[in-house]
């Protein structure tokens, strides 16, 4: 506001602004049109970026999709001597094709439980990675959902005003922690602490990593849930209180259900973050592709596999294509989550739960 007053005082009565005199109205209008067109163009860049990201990640993975669609898969077996072939079969197993590092591979080669991209006869089974991602995402949400939703309830309904002004920024500050710092914290402190406490075998595993992921997810779910809880009309609360409900009954039985769609959206976005988080998974999860359901085994995720292996991979090799294919999966997953929250929850559910306001 103060700048504005200054501006007003600069233009004294009877004084003309030379800027507006130098251009005729028509010229000015043309210039404005051009600038506005520029604004529209620059604004559309975000849309273009999304397309570009998808297109270029897909492009590097496209051989896999192409070979899958055309049903071709080359195998090395033809070039091998019979002895080499038997040896290769012993290593790879009967049911898996014998591949080289430049084989044209299909999606069917990815459906396997061994991830050994660097051995002589590579295997690109992503089952261990799928399991690792599921486990760590589950653990992350297991910690994050109750902690952040209860914390959101506290700040929205129970906390004294001054405390709320303190708690909210502090939890939001957690969102500003670089994920590499959270990963390091889990790697050093949490890993040792948890192993001393539970006494399991591997120091780094999907519980330690999943806990780290939950630290990245908590601020997201917390902030969005708190916003959802506070955007429920206060009249509902007052009505419940007037009907004789206690403060907590009103909070749990009236306000919380009314905020369900928003909280659901918050959880979905948190899920997307846990699914795609790289550095924490890379540092605190042990990074071993073991096809195991045990949460106390080391694990790796889609994102951490890309992070760990993309640096050393040969450009254009089948390993390279598989890693980009994992990237496509990550992109499609995060896109779907956003699509779901945006068009289903925000448009349909919230209206349904609130009625037409």
């Amino acid at each position: 506001m103060s700048e504005q007053k200054q501006e007003k005082s600069e233009v004294k009565p009877g004084e003309f602004s030379t800027a507006s005199l130098s251009l005729t109205t028509k010229e000015r209008r043309f210039g404005e049109r051009a600038i506005e067109l520029g604004i529209y163009t620059v604004s559309s860049l975000s849309i273009i970026f999304i397309f570009l990201i998808f297109a270029f990640v897909l492009r590097e993975a496209s051989p896999i999709i192409g070979y899958t669609l055309s049903g071709e898969q080359t195998e090395k077996s033809a070039e091998l001597t019979p002895e080499e072939l038997t040896r290769a079969k012993e290593i790879v197993g009967e049911d898996y094709p014998i591949l080289t590092h430049n084989s044209e591979i299909t999606v069917s080669a990815l459906i396997h439980d061994k991830w050994e991209p660097n051995s002589t006869y590579p295997r690109y089974g992503i089952w261990p990675i799928v399991l690792g991602t599921l486990k760590s995402t589950f653990v992350a949400l297991f910690f994050a959902i109750p902690l952040s939703i209860f914390a959101a309830l506290y700040t929205a309904f129970f906390a004294p005003l001054r405390l709320r002004e303190f708690i909210k920024p502090v939890i939001e500050l957690l969102a500003g922690f670089p994920s590499v710092v959270i990963g390091f914290f889990c790697l050093i402190t949490i890993a040792t602490f948890a192993q001393d406490l539970f006494g399991y075998e591997f120091r780094l595993n999907s519980v330690v990593g999943g806990f780290g992921l939950s630290l990245a997810v908590i601020p997201i779910i917390y902030t969005l849930s708190e916003d959802a809880l506070r955007s429920v009309p206060g009249s509902l609360n007052e009505a419940a209180l007037a009907l004789g409900a206690t403060k907590w009954q009103a909070a749990y039985q009236v306000m919380l259900p009314a905020a369900t769609p928003g909280i659901f959206a918050a959880i979905l976005l948190g899920l997307g973050r846990a699914f795609g988080e790289t550095m924490i998974a890379l540092m605190a999860m042990g990074n071993a592709p073991i096809p195991s359901w045990d949460v106390f085994d080391p694990a790796r995720t889609f994102a951490s596999t890309i992070g760990a292996e993309m640096g050393e991979v040969v450009f254009g090799s089948s390993h390279y294509q598989v890693l980009f294919f994992l990237g496509v999966v990550l992109f499609v997953f995060s896109f779907s989550i956003n699509f779901l929250t945006e068009f289903y929850i925000k448009n349909k559910l919230i209206k349904k739960f609130r009625g037409n306001e």
Binding site: S43, I53, P169, G176, A303, S334
Partner: protein, 370 residues
């Protein structure tokens, strides 16, 4: 009945409190953990010296320098685009506009794309397509020039005649040693050695077959541009919020006095929301400084001999911490350095975030009062 309700009420009040205390407790624990472990190792030398002895001694100055340079380039790219998009969303777009809905959806999607996917995009788009394209273009131009040079009169292989490679090298050295440095080096490996005979076609084909990646490899520019895509939504959201905090009456007054919409935005709305643009930039810098995944394969390096320029790889605080903590040879020796690096990185990002949160809460209060 009443008793069970009391117990229920106890938990209903207790659980939220406990959850809040736990979350705040963890945050305090993280900060305390690093302060206790890292403060003793933090010194002026640590901040201003280069690493020595395979990163087990010395400081982290190159990493600080790399991070700062990275976020500066990132800000230059992200803030103008972000601000203009926010102006469109807040000032120009009608509520029912399809374009605005698409832009909003794209911005939200951009915010949700995993950071590692940005890294893949940087690799596929900036490094291979743009960088590789520039390299290819330059290489072809250079080769055309070479063709002309070796085919013209003073050259020993003019008019498609044959000459020993030694003489061709001498000729190139004499013409412009600095410019043809790489080609002369390559000719050293010409099959048949220095005394083999070659004509201009053979020489040019041989030299064309190999390009040195110049822009087609990771460097600080590509990494910064990759990061700017990642931080774009941060800028847009913050600036839009600030634009909305400018009272509607001010706009109406400006329009009523005959100003056009662009003049209103440029002279009234923007000057009033400079703090918002500042917040957006600060938040973006805070976010960008801490992200490691997008720069893993777009230009971050573990150790460098000199400070980077635009075309070089760079050291980065977060990447440095990642390497120190996962690939340190001697863990006991590396521990204090790891903690001190963490303090610097965490201090930098948290300070930026804290400043932004304070400014933003002021904007929000103003927003509410409208």
């Amino acid at each position: 009945m009443k008793r069970s309700r009391q117990i229920l009420g106890f938990f209903a009040h207790g659980l939220p409190l406990v959850a809040t205390l736990l979350v705040v407790g963890i945050i305090v624990a993280i900060i305390a953990n690093f302060l206790i472990g890292g403060l003793p190792a933090l010194s002026w030398e640590f901040l201003t010296e280069s690493p020595r002895n395979v990163n087990t001694e010395g400081g982290i100055f190159p990493a600080i320098y790399g991070t700062v340079l990275l976020v500066i380039i990132m800000t230059i790219a992200a803030v103008p685009i972000g601000t203009i998009t926010a102006i469109y969303l807040a000032e120009y777009a009608k509520k029912t506009s399809k374009l605005a809905q698409f832009v909003r959806f794209a911005v939200n999607t951009l915010a949700g794309v995993p950071s590692i996917v940005f890294g893949l995009f940087g690799l596929g788009f900036f490094i291979q397509t743009i960088g590789g394209g520039i390299d290819n273009w330059n290489h072809q131009a250079k080769m055309a020039e070479l063709q002309q040079l070796v085919a013209a009169a003073p050259s020993p292989i003019a008019n498609n005649s044959f000459a020993p490679v030694r003489e061709i090298k001498a000729y190139l050295t004499q013409e412009d040693e600095l410019k043809w440095r790489k080609e002369i080096q390559r000719l050293n490996q010409y099959e048949g050695g220095e005394s083999a005979y070659a004509n201009s076609q053979l020489v040019v084909t041989y030299l064309s077959s190999h390009t040195d990646p110049n822009w087609g490899k990771g460097n600080i520019l590509w990494a910064a541009l990759t990061l700017s895509l990642l931080t774009l939504p941060v800028v847009i959201v913050a600036v839009e919020e600030a634009l909305k905090a400018v009272p509607q009456e001010v706009r109406s007054a400006s329009l009523a006095l005959g100003a056009t919409r662009l003049e209103t935005v440029w002279k009234i709305v923007l000057p009033n929301s400079l703090t918002g643009i500042l917040t957006g930039s600060i938040l973006a810098v805070g976010r960008g400084a801490g992200e490691v995944a997008p720069i893993l394969f777009t230009g971050a390096a573990f150790s460098l001999a000199k400070l980077p320029g635009l075309q070089d790889q760079f050291m980065h605080l977060g990447f440095h911490l990642y390497i120190l903590s996962t690939q340190a040879v001697n863990i006991d020796q590396a521990r204090p350095l790891q903690f001190a690096t963490t303090i610097v990185l965490l201090g930098l990002t948290l300070a930026l975030n804290a400043v932004a949160i304070v400014i933003r809460s002021r904007i929000r209060r103003k927003n509410k009062s409208n």
